[in-house]
């Protein structure tokens, strides 16, 4: 990041009339939601802000962000992956653009699957939930621990990110389309069914509820890894040709993949938005912004034109990342109440993994989230504009 900023400063130092300099401040990732809220409350927001995709709706609805359309042409916007645009669009306006995207897949070790007599699906296709459970059972019988779900993750966001697809592919939603109602949505019959089947993974001992090892797949202890693009490089280094990747198992007819990552927004604190937008354009530019960042963090480029710089994307597993994002990835719900939604949903998932009754636990989560929303909504005050984008496929 610092290198990108340095390049920006160098390029713009020579700029004739206007001297523009970008100064980067790093916030620690730990408790980021709170830190950003404090910064906003403390009126300490910078001109341009890098924030996690799902938080855009909250900041936009609080009036802290400026729309980005004036600074990008239609052609440029079309170059971005559809999920990037969906993630940053609230209420029909575009507030944030990311330089990279994310992908979650089910990695597998070909050798271990073969040893258990499990055939992986054809390239680019995933398993249905039944096939997935059957494969796990086979692996268990062969004495191999089937799948790693990383239940020991410290951050709430992992749970919502990784396991929303279970809900979505089962035909359910986390919140209503307008982002205001979970009642009847979160604890719907489809969701209860989907999450019961997810709970089976733990019931039947296919996945550990309190793992200690942060990377059991890389250490050769499990055959399947429910994980994301960030592990691709290290898994490839360890497994070589034995590494495969398939879309996450589908609880219904179609697979769904999660997506979304950090993105850049322009704040209303910026006194000269045109200048601040220059940085935005730079950091989301294929050559100056996306390429260096993706070289460093192994994420998925946000713009189609950037893929040219990454020949890896013609091959698995990277090819799968791109395919998902183009065809069946869904961003997390765009609602101002995302922070509450994710913390409650993650807590519910953790309890469900440890054996809590799915229906009851989802209902409790529903009540909690809805009561937070209800306190904000009909009473007025800082009322949120009615037609937010909520949760839909792009």
């Amino acid at each position: 990041m610092r290198a990108i900023a340095a390049a920006f400063n160098a390029a713009h130092a020579a700029h004739a009339a206007q001297r523009v300099r970008v100064v980067l401040t790093f916030f620690p990732d730990f408790h980021y939601t709170e830190k950003i809220a404090i910064a906003a409350a403390a009126r300490d927001l910078p001109d341009v802000l890098d924030l996690d995709g799902p938080l855009v709706a909250r900041f936009a609805s609080a009036g802290l962000l400026r729309p980005l359309e004036p600074w990008f042409s239609a052609g440029e916007l079309a170059d971005f992956l559809p999920t990037i645009l969906a993630q940053g669009t609230v209420d029909g306006r575009l507030y944030a653009l990311g330089a990279f995207e994310s992908a979650a897949v089910l990695y597998y070790d070909r050798a271990m699957l073969a040893a258990a007599g499990v055939a992986p699906p054809p390239d680019g296709r995933g398993w249905s939930w039944e096939e997935f459970l059957a494969a796990c059972a086979r692996l268990r019988r062969a004495g191999i621990e089937p799948v790693a779900l990383h239940m020991n993750e410290g951050a709430d966001e992992w749970f919502t990110y990784a396991f929303s697809p279970v809900v979505w592919s089962g035909g359910g939603h986390l919140i209503s389309a307008d982002g205001r109602r979970v009642r009847g949505v979160l604890a719907s019959a489809e969701n209860i069914r989907s999450l019961r089947r997810w709970q089976d993974l733990f019931r039947q001992g296919f996945a550990a509820t309190d793992p200690l090892d942060p990377d059991p797949f890389g250490h050769g202890r499990v055959a399947l890894d429910w994980s994301g693009h960030w592990m691709a490089r290290s898994h490839a280094a360890v497994k070589g040709d034995r590494l495969g990747a398939m879309p996450l198992p589908a609880a219904g007819a179609q697979p769904v993949a999660p997506c979304g990552s950090w993105c850049w927004a322009l704040t209303t604190a910026a006194r000269e938005p045109a200048l601040a937008a220059r940085w935005l354009r730079w950091v989301t530019d294929s050559r100056h912004g996306i390429e260096p960042v993706v070289q460093a963090n192994g994420a998925v480029p946000a713009r189609r034109s950037a893929f040219a710089a990454f020949p890896d994307y013609a091959r698995p597993p990277y090819r799968l990342f791109r395919d998902q994002l183009e065809h069946f990835a869904r961003p997390r719900p765009r609602t101002p109440y995302y922070a509450t939604l994710t913390s409650q949903f993650a807590a519910a998932l953790r309890d469900i993994a440890h054996g809590a009754d799915v229906a009851a636990r989802l209902l409790t989560a529903e009540d909690e989230i809805q009561s937070v929303i209800d306190r904000r909504e009909p009473a007025g005050g800082t009322a949120v504009p009615p037609a937010a984008t909520g949760e839909t496929a792009p």
Binding site: T33, E34, A41, A62, G63, T340, D351, H354
Partner: protein
Amino acid sequence: MIAWRKSQARAAPWFLLPALALLAVFVVWPMLRALAWSFTNADLLAPGQGRGIGLANYSDLLADPRFRRAFANTALFALLVVPVQTAAAFLLALWVNRPEPAWRWLRTAFFAPVVVSMPVLAVLWTMLYQPAQGREMGLVNALLGLVGAPPQAWLRDPSLALPAIAAMSLWQGVGLQMMVFLAGLQGVPRELVEAARIDGAGAWARLRHVILPALRNTLVFVVTVTTLLAFRLFVQPYLMTRGGPGTSTLSLIQSIYETTFVAQDLGRACAAAFLFLLLVGALALVQRRAAREERA
């Protein structure tokens, strides 16, 4: 002497100024502001734009199951920790109240956890309480295994999580209370104890009729302070279980923290903070009442 009195009165404001100014700015002023916010529906990201809603935050909170649960959990925690820790500290103090150097080492051992900060201990005990997975487990389950007891899920078990956290807090705090009791014990006049022994009173009788009465004020002090501190429970459950499983370890302070930073409802968070303050103030008042009775 009159000149001395006058110079005293003149000097006083200067002596008081730094402390009172700081207290006014960082304690009193924020309190008043929070009070004002508690009557509005202010949003954390835009506090100035709240609307007045009277006592709605307060009535909502008192009826809110999550807030009630947080209160119940915190009260239960205090109920578990205060009597047991105080009794244990007293007994330990009686035990180590001997001059030989061996006992000094034991006193230091009991006091050691007090010095280690709570976040460190929260992290440590999370590892100690690790449930058994295959052949891997935390130290607590390993020790249980040594005596043939089955391993428990501890922090993942809704009925064990809060007691587990209480046990850890007790272990951390007992040393400090013990030291206070020790000092109190050493202040009991020897003649009284000797006189009781000569009169034929056994150890138990000596305890009940000589030692405990002499320690009454210390006891009241220790119980009050420990109770007040117990209600400020936050770090242990926040770092160890995040308030889970379910809401079984959700503390009052954590619920205030969440209302502030996750739901970002500033008005409600301030109301919750004031309810907390009323509670703690009431407890402190009860203590003053009890202490005053003794003097009369």
